[in-house]
């Protein structure tokens, strides 16, 4: 009896310490999310409606935003993972100045996202530094305007995002690579598996947990990319997040803004769950 009271007290005390955190996450994350979803399914007067979504799917800007978001995510994520893993593979080897390279590579991480937008504006502007470089190398005669829309603008946003986040991917991949014991490679080398074979048979399979985590972390961030398209692509090339912002800020329409945000949330949740299910199924199939 006594010990039961004690344990209740202990749990009670523990729960008390948890209250502020839980209350905050509930009030400032879950509640707003539910409110956003509600905005999306109601009229300005508060009645239930599907009209907002009908309006969105008839809006060419929204459809463009949807296409842009998906393309940026798929292209960006693929390139980021490939480049990040490649650089991490080089940085696991022993060579002179490795520490210096590792440190220099962190520099974009020390640049706020909004600043990386500004900085890359200087690079990608039609009279910017990339055009000047291409001109001096004799590759172009007239400057390229990267912000005119289409795939060119999307690739600009992808490269800007890559500049900022490849260092993060490198760090996460390095952490994964360093957890693979050297003995495995030595044993494989004895059996004649080196180079690419060792990469496909040892590195990639053992790196899978790190890759899964990185793809999810980065995928979520790429879906909701906001600052870079806002600065670099303007309203010519909206993504879902900037579209939702424009609906709120320019047109003062909380309901379509909420609907667009809800659509983006749904997209993220579905993709993350689908990816996890795929990874899990593959893991089970192998066991």
């Amino acid at each position: 009896m006594k010990s039961a009271t004690l344990s209740w007290r202990r749990h009670g005390f523990g729960l008390l310490l948890l209250v502020p955190l839980v209350a905050y996450v509930f009030g400032f994350t879950l509640l707003p999310v539910l409110q956003s979803i509600t905005y999306g399914f109601t009229t300005a007067a508060g009645d239930f409606t599907l009209e907002n979504y009908r309006v969105l799917f008839a809006n060419s800007q929204f459809l463009a935003a949807m296409r842009n978001t998906l393309l940026i995510t798929v292209i960006g994520l693929t390139l980021e993972m490939a480049v990040g893993l490649g650089l991490a593979l080089i940085l696991t080897r022993e060579f002179k100045l490795r520490g210096l390279f590792r440190s220099l590579m962190l520099i974009p991480m020390g640049v706020p996202t909004i600043v990386s937008g500004v900085t890359l504006m200087y690079v990608f502007d039609s009279s910017g530094y990339l055009n000047e470089l291409l001109f001096r190398l004799g590759l172009i005669k007239l400057p390229i305007d990267f912000a005119t829309g289409g795939l060119r603008t999307l690739m600009m946003v992808v490269f800007a995002d890559m500049w900022k986040v490849v260092p993060v991917v490198v760090l996460l991949m390095l952490a994964g690579l360093e957890s693979i014991p050297d003995e495995l490679y030595e044993a494989a080398a004895v059996d004649g598996a080196t180079g690419w074979r060792a990469f496909w048979r040892i590195t990639l399979p053992l790196l899978k947990p790190a890759i899964t985590m990185t793809v999810i972390l980065r995928g979520v961030d790429t879906f909701r990319i906001f600052e870079l398209p806002l600065i670099l692509a303007g309203r010519v090339n909206p993504v879902l997040a900037t579209f939702a912002y424009t609906e709120y800020n320019q047109y003062h329409n909380n309901n379509t803004s909420g609907a667009a945000a809800t659509f983006l949330m749904g997209l993220i949740v579905i993709c993350v769950v689908a990816y996890l299910v795929l990874v899990e199924r593959e893991r089970k199939a192998k066991v």
């Binding site: 502020p20 409110q35 520099i107 991480m109 490679y185 080398a189 080196t194 709120y248 983006l264």
Partner: protein, 273 residues
Amino acid sequence: MITNSRRLSPWAIPLLIFATLLFVTPVYLMFKVSFSSPAEVLTAHPTFWFKEFTLKHWQQVLASGNLTAPLLKSLSVATMATLLALLICTPGAYVISRMRPAIKYTVVLALFFTRMFPDVGIALPIAVTFIKWNLLDTQFGLVLAHLTKILPFIAWVLVGTFDTIPDDLEKAAWVDGANRIQTLIKVILPLAAPGMAVAAMLVWLDSWNEFTFSLYLTLGKNTLPLQTYYYVVRGNWFQAAAYSGLLTVPVLFVTMLLQRYLRSGYLAGSLKG
């Protein structure tokens, strides 16, 4: 013995140098623009090296009188948000860290899950509510909003910190007659202080950099990132460059200072700012 598979191929180093150049150059260009005369930037053929070094743009920033208010707002919001985040999260993270592994894993995952929602979806209802509560354009409102981003992350880091402190220490303290609050304050917190300091620096930067919530919740009293964006919209490259530089210096400094901690994987994911 270095085996075949571990040897560096000959093109690896040139590739690495090329990538590093790509990573470093834009930062150089940003500082360069902020110290360059307009003639060598606003032309069809901008120069890569300094031709005419000038402090004009920085003097303008200081003389315009537009700097102090955003700077103070950013500084005080980031500092208040950090203190409040530590106050709210430390007790919670301690309790989570002492839960049974299965429950702990679920709670941490749930916290992480809340960061999956896009900021534009969370900022919209908060802005609507803040209009009603008269919290738009206030420092306190912004602190509350920034905490949304900060709390799950800092809780996550602190759970990791408390996990490294063995619970034998607490049991020993109880045997000696200390109650739970005394144990937490006198035994656990001093040991957790280094981890808490790292977490504090990271969340301070998170708030210092924060853009989306600030954009939704500000009408006239800009933070430093908003002030930078304001100059971007007005097409003033030099002011934008100078403000960007100002914004970047503390972040770059702390990032380099904390490199050691960034290596431990999971911190990295959150510091993309």
